[in-house]
Symmetry: C2
Subunit: 355 residues, 2 copies
């Protein structure tokens, strides 16, 4: 990062590393964590001395706000290692800015930019051996903030903990993904906080998703809570539709996450001379396009998989299968974005940032 070091991070190194116990060729997402973590506490109206410590459990009063009122926000980002052993981040400032937008909507204090980037860079340098070379390998980074103050009064806490934990990740093929388009349950309200990466946006999706799973769908595409007529997002992914040669995605709103990968997909698609239309998209339009053969692709975008192609979808009991096509927009855009992430191609957008 270009900023000067103005903080003083206290570092306590782990006495031994767990790295040799980890099978890097067989990683489940987000299950194994590296040797260290970054921690910074907020109290008395200010963020206190940031620390890097061995990865360890945290101890909280049972009445801590996060357990009762969901005052918690997070981010998801990745670090990549190129063939020269250099480590890269992808648009990290977007994540930094978004965690503070999420925090503000939940009445939580913003985290300082210098603390964020120095903490992140120092931690990544310490964990560099956990980032494996090879296209698809990465280190998943989870910054998060939780309300730690004791007491069950339903009001914003005065104490918080900002942490960064890291988990090695590999590229994997999760099988064909079919999605259910929501016709009853909803993810977010207008005027709510669906745009935020807030803890409260996730647990509510688990039960509707478990119903969809039993019906043979892996995920849900959420629709607007009012009419269920408009396609919004998939809960952990933004969603794109290719009708003919046009790529369509809905505009962001207070119900929809402003995805970093979503933005990157839009920019990259335009750069690849793909016609991108950002506008509300109706369920009926997608069904009609599926019926007349003009629906070529659906895919989700997110940090975990970059782009996740959808093989079929269901709505109100009916199902549609998508054609298998060569040279899909999904594969072209994914490749181009990953080439930037892994320092394989030139980065004319300035997205890649060296650690």
């Amino acid at each position: 990062m270009s900023k000067e070091t103005i903080t003083n991070i206290k570092i306590e190194k782990a006495s031994t590393s767990k790295i040799n116990e980890v099978d890097f060729s067989n990683l489940a997402f987000g299950n194994v964590f590296t040797d260290h973590m970054f921690v910074c506490d907020y109290e008395n109206g200010a963020w206190q001395e940031p620390q890097i410590t061995p990865y360890q459990k945290i101890s909280l009063d049972p009445s801590a706000r996060v357990f009762h009122y969901g005052q918690a926000v997070f981010e998801g980002m990745k670090a990549y290692k190129d063939e020269q052993d250099d480590i890269w981040l992808f648009r990290p400032k977007e994540n930094f800015e978004r965690i503070n937008k999420s925090a503000a909507r939940l009445a939580m204090p913003e985290f300082p930019e210098d603390f964020f980037f120095e903490g992140l860079n120092t931690l990544l340098k310490l964990e560099k051996d956990w980032i494996k070379k090879g296209f698809g390998n990465s280190l998943y980074i989870r910054p998060f903030v939780i309300a730690t103050e004791s007491g069950v009064s339903a009001s914003p806490a005065n104490k918080y903990k900002f942490m960064i934990i890291c988990s090695p990740a590999q590229s994997y093929y999760g099988g064909e993904v079919r999605v259910k388009i929501a016709d009853h349950y909803s993810r977010a309200a207008s005027g709510g906080f669906g745009f935020a990466k807030a803890a409260g946006n996730y647990a509510g999706q688990f039960y509707p998703t478990s119903i969809a799973n039993k019906e043979g769908f892996q995920q849900i595409i959420w629709t607007d809570a009012n009419t269920h007529e408009y396609l919004e997002e998939a809960g952990t992914m933004n969603i794109f539709f290719r009708i003919g040669d046009k790529l369509i995605t809905c505009p962001i709103s207070d119900r929809i996450l402003d995805g970093v990968t979503r933005k990157s997909v839009i920019a990259m698609a335009k750069d690849l001379d793909i016609d991108v239309d950002i506008r509300p998209i109706k369920v009926t339009e997608v069904i009609e396009a599926a019926n007349n053969g003009s629906l070529k692709e659906i895919f989700g975008s997110g940090t975990a998989a970059v782009i996740n192609p959808i093989a079929g979808f269901g709505f109100k009991g009916d199902t549609w299968e998508l054609p298998k096509i060569e040279n899909s927009f999904a594969s072209k855009i994914k490749q181009a974005i990953m080439d930037i992430q892994y320092n394989i191609s030139e980065d004319k957008f300035g997205w890649r940032v060296k650690v």
Copy 2:
């Protein structure tokens, strides 16, 4: 409780009590906790041996689901001591059933009834000195369940912790309460989980409430997220309007908490020969009634205060003051419910349950 003891609660008593350090005449809500807590862990598909231990911190992996995805539900209930030193609960089965409804909506396992009531009763008997006699004094009881499994995969956890913690409470007058009727921000989506006492329903209210606070309002009355035309609930209270001699409250829905106090207010009002109308109620109807003088009372209902009278309200920049009236519905209903809670009056509803 009438159920037979079929569980075996392991009890570890605190070596010393904190009770003499507590000023029971000067209690802030939910800040001081008793000497013990009830804990039961869920793993391997089953609730494990329930325990009562000294009140203490809990230790969790930083990747525990509750910190990231808000998979957490809770209840609020109270225990009361009568003049004969007997301890009473108020409609506890309602809380038991509701925590399991909340849990089901968040894809969490249901908690067994016998564990719940034996845990609660055993804990309350152990903490009986913390429940002070005197009208208005009580022990606030907070059962809650949190997802404790490690790993940041956005899916339901396989490990949970059910706990009950208790905090002594006293009757207090929090000053006149004025409420802002929401015209932009929202609490819950249709098809969401607003009806559940889920962690994710609370933190999202803090920021809009902080704006309302600056405008001179203590709380918000939430309206429907779609049109902001219909009055719904106040976030920690259900809401009642008296127009002329009719008491009006909106029906429950998937956006609105099925409050135990709400139900009790409705039943008690009918018993007091008050005409109760359960129907959608428009903001415009309340404003019109305020303007023509027929709006006599607004009050909230909830476990904390039973009934909380509202002195005035604001909507889109305008404000209205309510008349100060004698023999209000609020005070009559509150007195009648509290007389049952404190074993002062006959309980023809069968609401009072002895510990």
